[in-house]
């Protein structure tokens, strides 16, 4: 359960975005791209496991398996 201090951090950051319109985006982009970079690394590791492909199909609830180039 998140406590009040977490909401205070949300407010601090929102005020930073509001008060620094030319600075927030670079920091934010680094953060968002890092999440996707980590995701891509884990997917590559999973694909090397014996049941990795099946796990990913379940994880992303993929029905159009043939169309997914990244699974091949």
């Amino acid at each position: 359960m998140r406590d009040q201090s977490h909401m205070e951090q949300v407010e601090r950051w929102a005020n930073f975005v509001r008060d620094n319109p030319t600075q927030w985006k670079k920091i934010h982009t680094k953060f968002i791209n890092a999440l996707f970079q980590k995701n891509a690394e884990v997917i590559q590791r999973l694909l090397q496991q014996p049941n990795g492909k099946q796990k990913l199909i379940e994880l992303y609830d993929i029905k159009n398996v043939e169309g997914c180039e990244w699974l091949k």
């Binding site: 949300v10 975005v17 509001r18 997917i43 992303y60 029905k63 159009n64 997914c68 990244w70």
Partner: protein, 185 residues
């Protein structure tokens, strides 16, 4: 606001490319979490939620084919007929790029007066730096505070209230919350 292209993140680029195609065929809005994230909220998401106006099957076929041509993949089906059935049953279609499982765009048809109202009130938000139509800020705050209500959603609403302070209209938020209670709860 001037911004370098390199400042665009993976979600921004994916969203703009997808929206540019949808925009040729119908009205759309990007709603919920991505509006908060594109406005600076630092949290992760794998999907972007989109509502589009209801379109005919023929028009949808042309849209589906163009998405495929631009390397977007429908996760549920390669058949536009099956995909269209999802939409008409008020289920969402999920699209990714063919070479990556994320991010994904979740697309739904407008299903009631509230969605139609959102489409009518759509706006562009210069703070995001994106050429994308968003659902208006007051409607998003109302949905997050009245319907969704998870800690993540309440934090998104708080973020929106601060960064868009000049746009927050308590009267509109109250009216939309009333519509949510009548149509969704």
């Amino acid at each position: 606001m001037d911004r370098q292209i390199s400042d665009r993140n993976i979600l921004d680029a994916f969203c703009e490319e997808f929206c540019a195609i949808i925009d040729k065929y119908c009205q759309y809005i990007v709603v919920s979490g991505f509006l908060a994230i594109a406005s600076g909220r630092t949290r992760g998401t794998e999907d972007i939620d989109m509502i589009i106006e209801r379109i005919s099957r023929d028009k949808f076929e042309a849209l589906f084919r163009e998405l495929e041509y631009h390397n977007f993949l429908c996760m549920q089906s390669a058949s536009f007929v099956e995909a269209y059935d999802y939409l008409t049953e008020n289920l969402s279609l999920r699209f990714t790029k063919k070479d990556k499982p994320v991010p994904e765009m979740e697309v739904k048809f407008a299903k009631d007066l509230l969605d139609t109202y959102q489409l009518r009130q759509r706006i562009k938000l210069p703070l995001t730096g994106l050429k994308v139509w968003f659902s208006n800020v007051n409607i998003n705050i109302a949905f997050k505070e009245e319907l969704l209500k998870s800690p993540k959603d309440m934090e998104d609403a708080r973020h929106l209230r601060i960064v868009f302070k000049e746009m927050v209209d308590e009267h509109e938020i109250k009216e939309v919350k009333k519509m949510i209670r009548e149509l969704r709860l």
